[in-house]
Amino acid sequence: MQGNEVALQDVSMRFGDFVAVHPTDLTIRGGEFFSILGPSGCGKTTILRMISGFLRPSTGRIRIGDGDVTDLGPNRRPTALIFQNLALFPLMTVWENVAFGLEARGVPKAERRRRAEELLELVALPGQADKMPAALSGGQRQRVAVARALAVEPAVLLLDEPLSALDLKLRQHMRAELKAIQRKTGITFVYITHDQGEALTMSDRVAVMNQGRIEQVAATEAIYNRPATPFVATFVGEHNVFRGRVVGVANGHARVETPAGRFVGVNADGLAEHDEAMLFVRPERIALAEGHPEIDNQLDAEVERRDLEGPFVNVFLRAGGRPVVMHLTNVGDAAGRLDGRQRIGFAAEDALVLRAGQLASE
């Protein structure tokens, strides 16, 4: 099996007056694990349903491999979809579920059974072939759904938040399994999720969507470290946001005047003086600055609360009337005694200056 490339050209979807997906160009490379990440209602499921063929785009063409599939129904596309609720057939046994796609293709029963057993082996479910889906645990049902989708040897596997019903431990385990299956089979995976953790841990590349538009398509590291828009910056991971105005630019850096002080950050959008700007700093990039004059940006803040998260301590502060969050690694007892007024700071390289825009939390 080898995954095919999926290409959306100027694809848009409108339902009456509502535009679910604005005209979009997107290329998903063959054999990659691609995630579409976004809040609910952002249009990610609509894109998935257009790729799978359940929705016909209002405009644009969809290509899978070398073929234009825009006018094909879901039963004639080289895709397989794993539903959010899995949609296993409750009245069929596990192996009949897995072999359903083969049954639809007229494969003889003995061959179907053999293929089903093979696939159940692949998803680590041997010996469960004759059970009913209801007799399986959540994680096992998940694997059956994967096996059922793989049975039709799709070029592209589409996954619609299939892990959302599982508990945390199982979810983390299944992430690894899905990733392993993707490596083993080489199929293109298109994974829809609103959970950034899932997207970051499993994917090769991620597209972040908001309100029917793709905000950024990039590798996971780039999405986290170099978000392209304020929305991506605040939707993926946590960010401290300082709003302000650019007061100076130099060497790819910008100085921003904010209510909490003047800070320098990487001028990613190439802003000019007087531009409205937002400066983003990850909580883990903020450190205590007392006695560290080499830290570029420094500010005074009042500690309001400390939450012990385990590996780190979540410190909530307030500076210039704005909340600031800082993660302190749980080493020694520095964090435990943190109180009152503190001097904190962050390096200019760890701060990102972007053109002011919509944040994920708004």
């Binding site: 799978s52 063929g53 359940f54 129904g73 879901p74 039963n75 004639r76 895709t79 397989a80 979809l81 539903f83 959010q84 609720n85 949609a87 296993l88 057939f89 009245l91 069929m92 359903f100 796609g101 049954e103 639809a104 293709r105 059922r148 989708a149 049975a151 039709v152």
Partner: protein, 406 residues
């Protein structure tokens, strides 16, 4: 129980239990017990014993008539001997002359319709000869009387011994009635299957409709005809299917047939018309259970099957139909029972023109022949057949009573 009293108080609980008890006993148990009791009691009507009793009675009456004639003839002879030529002018009325006063009263007292009328002996023969003939006949009859009486008594005794619980109501049912019984089951089954074929697409379409307004509209369209009295609904169909009804007039307008020439398709003369009206009459009983089950089907399952490459036919066969099985079972059971027991539809749509339904036979036994015992036996037969049908459907569809109740 204690839970009930705690929730509703002793008075309300008692009342509810009382009403439930009355309901169960008066409306379910007693009628059924009565029906079963009647079905197994054979009340002979007609038959050999009746025939023998009738023959005996006839013989006795004939003897009485002959006695009368003998007396009259003897009197005639006596008069002839004393009064000469004025014979028959006065005196005792002669049975030969029905217009004579007294003869009428006398004969109407004895003679019943269908009995040989006295005085048929040829009046031309001389009285002595007539007397002789009558006496011979009387002696002959008298001789037979003993045998007849013995036979009638024996048969009556046999009959009395036979009355009481027996299977004779069933065993004496004519072959024709058995045939009608069998055909009624076949008809009802056909109605059920046709009704399913009509209702499944409707139920599926309604269940798949996403907009609530359209569902409401479709449902309203199905329910509105049921606001009309059942008989009116049937008569509406009679109006459509009658020889000079709407359908034939439509064909006339289209030039397919000429009503003026007396050409007409006799729709109501076939069971097709009965089937058609029954499907219309019972469509809701099939649509709603199927709709209710399909409604609960996760649409993702249909999409998943489609995504895996299944054709529409396979999606229905493997995913939708298995899911709708309990609904289909309930709908089939209801439609079958209603059609097998329907009296109004076969009774009003071309009665006597299409083959009889068993329900019509039962009706006639109850209300025309007045033979409730045979009627009960036939009703019981139908009840058993329907019960067997329910059990067969339940095992065929592998659904339990609990699923059906759902």
């Amino acid at each position: 129980m204690s839970n009930l009293t705690r929730t509703y108080g002793p008075f309300l609980t008692g009342l509810v239990l009382l009403l439930t008890g009355v309901w169960i006993i008066a409306l379910i148990i007693l009628p059924q017990v009565n029906l079963i009791d009647r079905a197994f009691v054979y009340v002979p009507r007609g038959g050999e014993a009746q025939q023998a009793a009738l023959e005996l009675e006839r013989a006795q009456q004939r003897i009485a008539t002959i006695d009368f004639d003998i007396r009259a003839t003897e009197k005639e002879i006596a008069q002839a001997a004393s009064g000469g030529g004025s014979a028959g002018a006065g005196g005792a009325p002669s049975p030969s002359n029905p217009f004579a006063p007294g003869a009428k009263i006398g004969s109407s007292n004895v003679v019943r319709p269908g009995m040989p009328t006295p005085g048929l002996a040829p009046p031309a023969a001389p009285p002595e000869q007539r007397l002789k003939t009558l006496e011979t006949e009387r002696a002959e009859l008298q001789g037979q009387l003993g045998g007849l009486k013995e036979r009638a008594d024996r048969l009556k005794a046999e009959q009395q011994a036979a009355t009481g619980y027996s299977l004779r109501n069933f065993t004496t049912m004519s072959g024709l009635h058995w045939r009608i019984f069998g055909m009624t089951l076949v008809y009802s089954f056909s109605v059920t299957v046709l009704c399913f074929l009509v209702c499944y697409p409707i139920a599926y379409a309604v269940a798949q409709t996403r907009s609530p307004e359209r569902v409401a509209l479709l449902m309203l369209g199905l329910v509105i005809p049921y606001a009309i009295n059942e008989l009116l609904r049937i008569f509406a169909w009679v109006m459509i299917l009658a020889n000079r009804g709407i359908l034939n007039q439509l064909l006339d307008t289209l030039g397919i047939l000429d009503l003026a020439q007396g050409e007409a398709v006799h729709w109501v003369a076939s069971n097709g018309a009965v089937f058609c009206v029954m499907i219309y009459a019972y469509i809701l009983f099939m649509v709603f259970p199927i709709y209710n089950t399909i409604e609960t089907l996760d649409r993702n399952q249909i999409e998943a099957a489609r995504d895996l490459g299944a054709s529409t036919w396979r999606i229905h066969w493997r995913v939708v139909l298995p899911h709708a099985k309990p609904g289909i079972a309930v709908g089939s059971i209801m439609t079958f029972m209603l059609s097998a027991g329907s009296i109004s539809v076969p009774g009003l749509v071309g009665p006597g023109l299409h083959p009889d339904w068993f329900s019509q036979i039962i009706y006639r036994n109850y209300f025309e022949a007045g033979n409730w015992n045979i009627g009960s036996a036939q009703a019981l037969l139908l009840l058993v057949a329907c019960t067997l049908f329910i059990l067969a459907v339940m095992s065929l569809f592998r659904v339990s009573v609990r699923e059906i109740a759902r």
